[in-house]
């Protein structure tokens, strides 16, 4: 496996990193998080113009036709800047789900608008426990009733991909979030950079044409998208961890105690070095996983790669965000300094698409319980 990056891949990563370093610097990111409800429409426009939403969308549907490697390179910058845009939800998770469904008319209907950023699509991740939805097929479509307590990006999104149980059958529906009967209410969220809303559905009508997949195909598409998205989410976590390392090294270089910069103390240098070990190993895991995903690996291999990326990156993010708070000392516990924003984001992201513990248990089943291969 060759992990060298092409010139084009470097350029995509650099262009997004450069945009976000300015357009989502600490001040702008805080304004979007705390004054704009966690969504910066202007930034979304810029991100879309750069083509960041089109990465995995096939050429035929107005995309760039690129793969997992480009997605993870770009994702790191989104994590690093805590960019307040639903890039992960729409351009990664929803686009991957629609791609995995593989239905030509669904692709033609949604992917071009997702690629251009004109429409935003999200997915219910089932973050909090909820009562089962009632989906009843009536005439030419479904009628939905129920409450989804925590849907990411639901305020900004136009569409919600929703897996439902319809009698004995599983279906993946696309629900228009401006349809009659849909009510959205933003939730308090410690991670203000990735807003979540409660969505209530009362007799919401979903047309037959808005059913993307049924039965095993629906489950299969969701699983496939979930594994790819887990690797991309891991890359965001690497960005979170990297930024905390950089903030910490910079702070220790400035802060003088005992007559010299804190960065000269070996005990503190070693802490930073260990942060770097965690960051780089996680980055290697993410790059390796993405590169292998681009070669379309088999199911067990996908599980193993996603578990690797999530385990290493989630732990790196948790370690580095905690260390950033500690090594900043008193100011690390203030609202004014950034480490807490990263700390909260890292913790929230751990629970998306399965916790690291759940991924590891799935891997343990494959390694320890199933017949030896």
């Amino acid at each position: 496996m060759d992990l060298r990056l092409t010139e084009e891949q470097r350029q995509i990563a650099d262009s997004v990193a450069e945009l976000l370093a300015n357009a989502s610097d600490s001040a702008r990111m805080r304004r979007a998080a705390f004054e704009l409800g966690g969504f910066d429409p202007e930034l979304w426009q810029q991100v879309a113009e750069l083509g960041a939403c089109a990465i995995q969308v096939p050429d035929a549907h107005g995309g760039l036709g690129l793969g997992a490697t480009e997605l993870v390179l770009v994702a790191e910058a989104f994590g690093r800047r805590l960019a307040c845009v639903p890039w992960f939800e729409s351009a990664v998770l929803a686009a991957a789900t629609i791609r995995a469904v593989g239905d030509e008319s669904a692709s033609a209907r949604w992917l071009p608008a997702l690629a251009s950023g004109e429409q935003i699509c999200t997915l219910d991740l089932g973050l909090l426990e909820r009562a089962p939805l009632v989906a009843q097929h009536r005439g030419a479509g479904w009628s939905l009733d129920g409450m989804l307590p925590a849907v990411p990006a639901a305020m900004a999104a136009h569409w919600l991909l929703l897996p439902v149980q319809d009698g004995g059958d599983r279906r993946l529906l696309a629900v228009a979030l401006d349809a009659p009967g849909v009510t959205r209410r933003p939730r308090d969220n410690h991670d203000a950079t990735r807003p979540v809303a409660a969505v209530t559905l009362q007799g919401v009508k979903v047309a037959d044409a808005e059913c993307l997949a049924s039965g095993a195909a629906a489950g299969c598409a969701l699983a496939t998208a979930r594994e790819l998205a887990a690797v991309v989410l891991a890359s965001e976590q690497v960005g979170v961890a990297q930024q905390c390392l950089d903030l910490t090294v910079a702070y220790l270089g400035q802060r003088v105690q005992f007559g010299k910069p804190l960065a000269t103390f070996q005990a503190l240098k070693h802490r930073c070095a260990q942060m770097m070990v965690a960051v780089e190993l996680a980055r290697s895991a993410v790059l390796g996983a993405a590169r292998e995903f681009d070669g379309r690996p088999a199911g067990l291999r996908r599980l193993r790669l996603a578990t690797m990326a999530r385990s290493l990156a989630d732990d790196a993010a948790q370690t580095c965000t905690q260390e950033a708070i500690q090594l900043h000392g008193g100011v690390g516990f203030t609202w004014e300094y950034d480490p807490h924003l990263y700390f909260k984001r890292a913790q929230a992201a751990r629970c998306w698409l399965g916790t690291p513990g759940e991924w590891r248990e799935r891997l343990a089943v494959a390694l320890l319980d199933e017949a030896a291969t």
């Binding site: 496996m1 060298r4 070669g295 578990t307 030896a372």
Partner: protein
């Protein structure tokens, strides 16, 4: 992600190994190397010569020095398949991967003609004379003395932690050739024969109970005047260049060895019920995931241009793999349970017991954890000294 010629090469290595690692060499299969009680050094020498006849020593060396100049991916494939086939620890490792590249860069044509063929043929073995009782992490504090007298160098002093010295023929020694010089100035790198009256080798018993490394005493030991590698006074430069050759393709062979150890651990866990313990399950899955990440990190290192400055992933590599293996050793002991301390005839369990103890050394040799963290902080993160 492999191409057809690499696949054919892989098949060639596999076939050669299964054809040759048999008969008398069965006893060496899966042996760790010197210090493993099952390792017979005489047999190991014959195995090295067998490898040499098969053309498997110096596969990456340039042709002018008798190597095969195989491209990097094929060198990696060889190391992987060697380990997967149960190939034993390599007695010729120090000569082949450390001294030989240094000879090619700094040696005179006479030195190259004299020493490279013995390494290539598996007939001459080398030890590394760097550490001393007062020059461990602080290597520049070397006190061993060398003085030129007539047509010989005379060496006095002591080296320690000298792996495989008792099974080697020669040693490369960092010594102080300019009396009164300080730190990294005034050093010379000498090539010294080990089998002579002026050299005493005393094995050091390790926590495994066996001896893989030694103390080496030089008491008027002699070597020819021409056997300095690089100029006298520039020994530090040569010594550091040699360490630079240590990060190389054999990393992926080591990785393949770890993967074999992981298979052993899973086999024992399934057999003795440890696989049902929910805490151990999490730890085993985490160890497997991290091992996969180490492989990705090694591939990332290899993807770097050879002439590029040391990259971030290179800086963390040693700390990352050695700490993984140290943790893995403890996990192996926890999976073994009481059997960790109660040896039996089970070969797989025995391998895990060896890993448990041997892996204590991984975070100490070749730059201890604490030195690695200094390097990462100061060189990679640019924090002040």
């Amino acid at each position: 992600m492999t191409n057809a010629s690499d696949d054919a090469f892989r098949a060639e290595v596999r076939a050669w190994m299964s054809e040759h690692l048999r008969g008398e060499f069965d006893a060496l299969r899966d042996c760790g190397g010197v210090g493993d009680p099952a390792y017979d050094p005489k047999l190991a020498r014959r195995w090295e010569q067998q490898l040499a006849r098969g053309g498997w020593v110096g596969i990456g060396w340039p042709r002018e020095h008798g190597g095969r100049a195989l491209p990097l991916p094929q060198q990696v494939v060889f190391h992987e398949e060697y380990v997967r086939a149960g190939g034993p620890g390599r007695l010729g490792h120090i000569g082949e991967t450390l001294l030989a590249p240094t000879l090619m860069s700094f040696g005179t044509p006479e030195q190259q003609r004299r020493f490279l063929p013995g390494i290539l043929a598996g007939t001459e073995y080398w030890a590394q004379g760097y550490s001393e009782p007062n020059a461990g992490s602080d290597l520049a504090n070397v006190q061993t003395r060398a003085r030129l007298e007539g047509d010989h160098w005379l060496v006095d002093g002591q080296k320690t932690w000298t792996s495989w010295a008792h099974e080697s023929d020669w040693i490369f020694v960092v010594a102080r050739s300019e009396p009164g010089s300080q730190r990294h100035h005034g050093l010379v790198m000498l090539l010294v024969p080990l089998r002579q009256p002026g050299v005493t080798i005393r094995p050091i018993r390790q926590i495994t109970g066996e001896s893989e490394f030694n103390e080496v005493f030089f008491d008027g030991a002699r070597t020819e005047a021409a056997l300095h590698l690089g100029a006298p006074g520039e020994g530090w430069k040569v010594a550091m260049a040699l360490l630079g050759f240590e990060r190389g393709v054999s990393t992926l062979g080591q990785q393949a060895g770890f993967e074999r150890e992981m298979e052993c651990l899973i086999e024992v866990a399934r057999r003795n019920g440890a696989a049902r313990d929910p805490v151990l399950r999490q730890r085993i899955a985490m160890a497997a995931a991290t091992l996969d990440a180490l492989r990705c990190n090694a591939l990332r290192v290899l993807a770097q241009d050879e002439n590029a400055p040391v990259s971030r992933e290179s800086y963390i590599a040693k700390f990352a793999w050695s700490n993984w293996r140290r943790d893995f050793g403890r996990l192996a002991a926890d999976v073994l349970g009481a059997a960790a301390c109660l040896p039996d005839d089970d070969a797989v369990a025995q391998k895990l017991r060896q890993v448990w103890l041997f892996s204590r050394s991984d975070t100490i040799y070749a730059g201890a954890n604490e030195i690695q963290l200094n390097l990462i902080a100061e060189r990679a993160l640019g924090m002040p000294r």
